[in-house]
Subunit: 345 residues, 2 copies
């Protein structure tokens, strides 16, 4: 029941090559102070015996795990998967490994996150997956943390994409198309990003001198809920003529609801999404949506974290990455071109 086959260690290689373990270590990683012929012999031996350095021993000695952790709710939305890929790609480039922890369907994220801190040098934490107190606790323990897609927290690094201005511009665009009654579907409670979009959405109404809806239509960020909510909204007597969906999944549900009610898109209802999922351009009509720099969000987070791990003590960073409105046909635009005003943010 112990290690199921004793893996070769640095001693195995040393014996095989007839040198000391220090020389093996130097030949394989140091790259310094080893005679060329010795190095060759050591490399040969290490291959022959199938040696792989033990990461735990290395981490212990170096006082660094060489790994970072990422905490997210789930991967079923392309958004999280995309950002995670960005983290992974950047981490790999920096020579770091990535440990993952999904919080969805777990009793509480606290234990999960605490356990992670035993194995990583730092943490990337998505949105509201862990409570503020936990963030503070991490700081107290000395685990560097970068917050993703979450409003500023005192003294913590944050990476987000621009939401408010893009939402304002997109809502303004719908208003320019002549829509007077636009519904907003999304979960402003549990998604900070979503709350910002709502805020921009309202701002556009104010600028146009319109009241706009009093509340967002709450819906989980999923197709099924979007469908239900859209069905209710579009089935009402004073139905909105446009639907501003907080992400493309909700928009997907809204499309289905509109079709079920025999409403034409975008003639009877205009619909917009958010995220620009790969399939968005294949919607019928193609979906007007907002593209976030997913990979870059992840990469920035990883790079920032790495700097903190290396001891960078400078002021907390609050990175805001630009988003881009992708005008397609579902908002009422004819072509897939960008319309008149420089409404992209």
């Amino acid at each position: 029941m112990r290690a199921h086959r004793n893996r070769p260690t640095i001693y195995t290689v040393a014996r095989h090559a007839g040198v000391s373990i220090a020389t093996v270590s130097r030949a394989l990683s140091g790259g310094s102070r080893v005679r060329e012929e010795t190095e060759r012999r050591v490399v040969e031996s290490s291959l022959k015996v199938g040696y792989r350095p033990n990461g735990a021993a290395r981490a212990l000695q170096r006082l660094r795990h060489g790994s970072i952790g990422v905490v997210f709710p789930n991967l079923s939305r392309p958004y999280y998967a995309g950002v995670l890929m960005g983290v992974e790609e950047a981490a790999n480039r920096l020579g770091l490994s990535v440990l993952i922890a999904g919080t969805q369907g777990r009793p509480g994220p606290e234990q999960l996150v605490l356990d992670l801190t035993s194995k990583v040098d730092g943490l990337v934490v998505f949105g509201r997956t862990v409570p503020d107190e936990m963030i503070a606790e991490l700081r107290r323990q000395g685990t560097p943390t970068v917050l993703l897609a979450r409003p500023r927290v005192d003294g913590e690094d944050t990476v987000r994409s621009e939401n408010r201005e893009a939402a304002r511009a997109l809502a303004a665009h719908l208003l320019e198309h002549g829509h007077k009654s636009i519904g907003f579907i999304g979960d402003t409670h549990s998604s900070p990003d979503c709350a910002e979009r709502w805020s921009g959405f309202l701002a556009a109404h104010q600028e146009a001198g319109l009241a706009g809806p009093a509340w967002p239509e709450l819906s989980a960020l999923l197709e099924a809920e979007g469908y239900q909510v859209a069905l209710r909204l579009l089935g009402a007597d004073n139905r909105p003529t446009a639907l501003f969906c907080a992400n493309d999944d909700i928009a997907t549900g809204a499309y289905a609801a509109a079709r079920e009610l025999k409403l034409r898109l975008p003639g009877d209802v205009a619909i917009t999404g958010w995220d620009d999922v790969p399939t968005a351009r294949y919607f019928s009509p193609p979906l007007t949506t907002v593209r976030q720099p997913l990979a870059e969000l992840g990469a920035r987070a990883a790079e920032l974290l790495q700097a903190r791990v290396e001891g960078d003590e400078s002021e907390p960073v609050n990175a805001l990455l630009p988003t881009e409105i992708v005008f397609r046909a579902s908002c009422g635009c004819r072509s897939r071109r960008r319309p008149r005003g420089g409404a992209s943010s």
Copy 2:
């Protein structure tokens, strides 16, 4: 430039609580042979100083990392993301952490995988992400490995979902709908799963006494390529009346191509997919597709791997998980119900 704030160690706690490090260790993990009052004091101290055990030291001592690695191409397809979530969930349940490695866009997977083996007890490897020689090398090094969605390799554990029989049944179903000319779109070269679907697709034709197409229409498993290929196929003089797409992304592209050519679905062309992505039921018409047990695939792989890590030396396992055809309207069925024959596999 060293560790940016010296984290408390077990010595810090011991000093704070006025006991030896052995007692701290026992109080925090052993749970044995410690006076109740002592345990309380130790726990209090550990909280007060913000102690977290060092995973590297623990792993070194225990001769086990307590982590497994997952190697996949990317996460942009929901398929990989879903299986990864399954791995993560099961690993968490088993007290393991998950390290990820995406191979897409990397020079070669070899170095990536080798580096991983320094930090994990075992590896879950997707499809053709790493070459056979590498698999053999892993075995030689003593890193237990489970292969996912990949045909049997001598002496290795494999977890797959059923492809051939489901594909046969689905193709037979299309033939029963009266289709004589069905196109198959997918990448049989680089995806083993896809090759099996092609094989089942052919089998259905044989059983029906039909020749069927001579080759699969090669296409990457992405919307864009599916769109291009479908456009070519459906634009030809002797266009097929049905399209058997190797996954839902390709089907998405095919829908767009059919709409562009003003073909009605499913009247002029029937289309089927594979994977049952969350949006499939919201397609217009709703997509007939095949559901794979994503989470379970991942969970089985993780559990199997864990057993091997624990020293299980029994015969290699070759798990085949059942799939389920989800009949919706795009194949020509009226309702979303399952049609006559027990065609699900």
